[in-house]
């Protein structure tokens, strides 16, 4: 069946499509009918009863008609009640995950997404097998965000200090954009990622080598992978350009003046800036960096420091 974009709705890629799209299209036709009815009536009446002579009076002072009034009270009521049950049935189906789902932890923070798999793999895009229900346990590290996949017709707010669940089942492979829809600050519109739906075998193979990202790589290469996967790229550039945070190019060994006096950038300073970012903030930057305490393992901290050293 054709999964491409229609005039009103984006591409179809999940089981929710057959819940949302029929309801949307049914309502679309109801509203076209009522809108057409009213606009035709208005134009016909206006044209037919236009005042041609300045003192032309209304041809009839009909001011009420009970059957007409009751009809356009009862009929809309019945229609909307039908719409309610249609909506509620679909809604409960969209909220209750079937048994046997695969769980992924989502961490949202100001302006980047992080995905953690039970096997320990971490990634900045969501990779899922096709035709298997996936449940996301989402939490935020600072403010409200919202995880929205237009192609899957599903969305759920991500609330700090709680786990909010969202489930879906992709019906075809491909890469589908994910957007944050709850306003969360400066780069709210850049807080984008993607859902990559793969065949089950390709997924297993990806999961295997993703579970231990550092395997077979030098610490510096592992640090480079972490720069991408941990969302450091959202705020720190590696080409010297000033972003939300200072650039990492030529950072190591430089003398930086910070909120706590001037400091020589060495391993201890970088480690401290990762675990207590607000301690010594480089002047000219906002203390918005969240802590990575309890998020980065020691091996990862060392890897990132090695990677920064290589950036001359």
């Amino acid at each position: 069946m054709d999964n491409s974009k229609t005039f009103w709705l984006p591409e179809k890629a999940s089981t929710f499509v057959d819940t949302v799209d029929p309801a949307f299209n049914l309502y679309l036709w109801i509203s076209i009918f009522f809108f057409g009815l009213i606009i035709i009536l208005i134009t016909v009446f206006t044209v037919k009863y236009l005042r041609r002579r300045p003192d032309q009076l209304a041809t009839a002072q009909i001011t009420h008609n009970l059957t007409l009034e009751l009809s356009w009270t009862i009929i809309p009521l019945i229609i909307v009640m039908g719409l309610f049950f249609l909506g509620m049935k679909g809604f409960l189906h969209m909220r209750v995950a079937p048994a046997g789902y695969m769980q992924v932890n989502v961490k949202a923070q100001k302006w980047s997404w992080g995905f953690e798999y039970p096997s320990g793999a971490i990634n900045d895009t969501l990779v899922v097998p096709v035709n298997t229900p996936v449940k996301l346990a989402m939490t935020s590290r600072d403010v409200l965000h919202s995880f929205f996949i237009p192609a899957f017709r599903t969305k759920a707010d991500v609330i700090p200090n709680r786990y909010h669940a969202l489930w879906f089942q992709a019906t075809r492979t491909g890469v589908f954009p994910v957007q944050c829809t709850q306003y969360c600050g400066t780069n709210h519109s850049y807080m984008l990622t993607a859902v990559k739906v793969m065949e089950p075998e390709a997924y297993e193979e990806w999961l295997a080598n993703a579970s231990d990202p550092g395997k077979g790589k030098t610490p510096a290469q592992f640090g480079e992978v972490l720069y991408q996967k941990r969302g450091c790229n959202a705020c720190h550039s590696v080409d010297g350009s000033k972003a939300v945070g200072p650039s990492w190019k030529g950072l190591f060994g430089r003398q930086e003046n910070t909120s706590a006096g001037s400091v020589m950038v060495d391993e201890a300073y970088i480690r401290e800036s990762m675990l207590q970012p607000a301690a010594k903030v480089v002047t000219g930057f906002q203390p918005v960096m969240p802590t990575f305490q309890g998020v980065l393992s020691d091996r990862e901290v060392v890897a990132i420091i090695e990677y920064i050293k290589t950036l001359k």
């Binding site: 932890n105 346990a137 200090n161 909010h164 579970s211 607000a278 309890g294």
Partner: protein
């Protein structure tokens, strides 16, 4: 009722003084009732504390009616307008509290892990750390910790019940899932189960499963 050439109505002095003494008497009963230590009575087949609360609020309601009807003269109004204004207040407030309760006390019916609060800091200093489940401090979120004098006692929460750092092999096969979501639970507003005491998970001495983050 009010004779028409004089505005308003003269509330008789006896009513005012009488309602005053009734109010003082009711206050005395209310305070006395609240001092009654019901645990001592040892009756456990009925929740005496809930009854005591209902009685106290009932007396408060009666006092409210006395103040509004007699002291504020709603009883003597010729037109019902002021009374309807007064009562519609409570209709809107009732709607407000009932629907907010419909949300807060029925959260997590479909997905129980939604009710677990994690990583929040509370300025209330804790003497015995152990008393509250493993309030391990090393996972304390240090993001703009409030500059409260008392050391922020971080309540490190268990990850949602169904995410345990189990060996990778088992990850796909969802072995034991105590938070197995019920089949489409009919959420028709049938009589809600006893209002689940939504005590925070902190009180539940859950076995401290590590955050799903990779091993430290």
């Amino acid at each position: 009722m009010s004779n028409h050439e004089y505005p308003g109505h003269a509330i008789p002095k006896s009513t005012i003084v009488g309602s005053y003494f009734t109010l003082v008497f009711l206050t005395a009963i209310m305070v006395g009732l609240s001092r009654l230590n019901v645990e001592r009575l040892g009756i456990d087949w009925i929740d005496l504390h809930a009854i005591k609360t209902c009685l106290i609020m009932g007396i408060a309601l009666v006092m409210g009616i006395i103040v509004s009807m007699f002291l504020m003269g709603l009883r003597y109004e010729s037109k019902l307008l002021n009374l309807t204004i007064f009562l519609s207040n409570f209709v809107f407030l009732l709607i407000f509290v009932l629907f907010t309760w419909a949300d807060t006390s029925f959260r997590g019916e479909v997905d129980p892990s939604f009710n677990q609060k994690i990583n929040y800091t509370s300025p209330v200093k804790e003497e015995a750390a152990g008393e509250h489940g493993a309030a391990s401090h090393e996972g304390a979120p240090a993001q703009t910790a409030p500059a409260s004098a008392g050391p922020a006692q971080a309540v490190q929460e268990a990850a949602p019940a169904d995410v345990k750092t189990v060996p990778a092999a088992e990850a796909a096969a969802p072995a034991k899932k105590d938070a197995a979501p019920a089949a489409t639970k009919p959420s028709a507003p049938s009589a809600p189960a006893a209002a689940k005491p939504a005590a925070p998970a902190a009180a539940k001495p859950a076995a401290p499963a590590k955050e799903a983050a990779p091993a430290h």
